[in-house]
Symmetry: C2
Subunit: 330 residues, 2 copies
């Protein structure tokens, strides 16, 4: 398969997607895609996945690389509480990259797009010595005041996380052979791999949090010890978390111990989980929990609280494992 | 300058841009940018610039690499006749890339954005072994039927090009030392370099052509011999061009001859010119020329015509240099 043929195959793949999205006036094949705006405000994020930096080619299948690149970008829309709309995919392939693997990158991303009702409606294929995927995702909102930034946390808010943590980091450690001796059931091992290789962006969770009155939201792909600190600094508050409260994927404790780490510290720092960390006014907790269960959005775990910044300025602190996490909180 | 500091500097640069665009509700620094839609239809193009493929690091200054990457992406909006809106920039830098050069990539792009009233309102910085810029540009339209695709050329249309051709290709040949012996005035040489290194996207020209009733439009960054063929194939017509009619930048003839090429063939094939090739109904020619002059949009040169496809199917042909361009037209 030559390059032009690969581009034609990819265009065909991008055009497929049953049913073709009714808002798309022009899809792949022209100078630009033309799409009816999905609301008065556009919410846009750009993200790149680079071999050797964000993933390693030998560790993931091509369809997983495509899946993860798009999921990672869509996670940013979830973290704003935006309504997902369109995605655009740039792939830059080494000259010796098998064309069928190039197509698998796109089909992996296309499957994520379809599942989340996102129209994958444009892209670009080029050469590069380094396999690189660049993803642009566009969501829409009716009112920018209802979107959730990193800067809205207020003293008195409670802090929660969606889903269990540590699973993606454990899956990566297993992939890289850093936790070889650990005994895990095959289905637990497979699920840890899935958490790393094929994460699902929390789009419905993010939209629900925006709708239900949350004050600040971020995705915790760098680990909650890093990302909750972003919330604290941008909001000008102190966030206090209990690391022992962080929910953990099945198998994480065994992998963490094999790596010589305390499980709660591993869950706070390993990263790669595309879950959300949210701050909500304390008074909205009961209504949020009720609605969360009604919408079957998985777990929602209360892990801390927001206080006024002290004299040393905005900060993140852990109430229970301060020493071990000092590198992340200062 | 460490990486986080570079990101902070880049964010500051992206935030600057006097005046900050009133449609931006959230710029760099959150999970996604939030921008008021500039019309009911979004026109989006993604494009990448990879070291060793689209440019060579030693040949261009960092600000030129940033300029060219954004200009190239914006050219796609010009080629649709869309109203430019926003741009998003992903830069992936090698570990040894000087941080001040990383900042220069962004300031080079920001200068193009500002000149064309485009809001550079988001981005991403990461590492890569291969210097890569990925650019997303978004334009807006009130009516998708007024945008110009590649598929609208009709028999009886006339074909024109904006601006002179060959200058960028000649500039590149000089940069690469392939045309060393050629005698050129310093200002001619400088202009050929500018044509390659700092092209201006034809946004006003594209918008005017959409408004004035053109039928099909494409940018000719791959050379008119390649890109007019795209128009022919997508429109299902035969396009006949006179290579000797193609306008040429000053100095192109000397460089082409030094390279052993006929100047008109060089102008048709060297590529890198971010000019436009347009098809227009013959009846609109007079009004278009009048308006073109009134808006001071530079040269507009008639170079061919559109015919019905013959029995062998849609094609591009050159009336005057058929043999030498046969590789491009079949």
């Amino acid at each position: 398969m030559r390059e032009l043929q690969l581009i034609a195959e990819i265009e065909r793949e991008l055009r497929a997607g049953p049913p073709r999205h009714p808002r798309i006036a022009r899809g792949p094949g022209d100078d630009a895609a033309v799409v009816r705006a999905g609301g008065p405000w556009a919410v846009t994020s750009v993200d790149s996945s680079v071999d050797g930096v964000h993933f390693r080619l030998g560790e993931l299948a091509p369809h997983e690389i495509g899946h993860r690149a798009l999921a990672s970008a869509l996670s940013d829309l979830g973290a704003m509480g935006a309504r997902p709309g369109e995605a655009y995919l740039v792939v830059a392939l080494p000259a010796d990259f098998p064309p069928e693997d190039g197509l698998a990158l796109v089909t992996g991303a296309a499957a994520v797009a379809e599942r989340h009702d996102v129209a994958l409606c444009g892209g670009d294929v080029s050469r590069s010595e380094t396999l690189t995927l660049s993803v642009t995702v566009v969501g829409w909102a009716d009112d920018p005041g209802r979107l959730l930034g990193r800067d809205g946390a207020r003293p008195g808010d409670l802090v929660a996380v969606t889903g269990p943590l540590g699973g993606a980091g454990a899956g990566l450690a297993l992939l890289e052979g850093r936790a070889e001796g650990v005994a895990l059931e095959p289905d637990v091992r497979a699920e840890l791999h899935r958490r790393y290789a094929r994460p699902e962006p929390r789009l419905a969770a993010g939209a629900a949090l925006a709708e239900l009155g949350a004050s600040a939201l971020i995705d915790i792909s760098d680990g909650i010890a890093t990302d909750a600190r972003h919330l604290a600094l941008r909001s000008g508050v102190q966030i206090e978390l209990q690391a022992t409260s962080l929910p953990r994927d099945c198998g994480v404790d065994a992998v963490a111990r094999a790596l010589g780490a305390r499980p709660e510290v591993f869950a706070a720092t390993a990263g790669e989980d595309y879950e959300l960390c949210v701050c909500v006014p304390a008074g909205t907790r009961a209504a949020l929990e009720r609605e969360w269960r009604a919408r079957e959005l998985g777990s929602l775990t209360w892990v801390g609280a927001v206080h006024a910044a002290d004299a040393s300025g905005p900060s993140l602190r852990f109430a229970d494992v301060a020493g071990e996490l000092s590198g992340w909180t200062h």
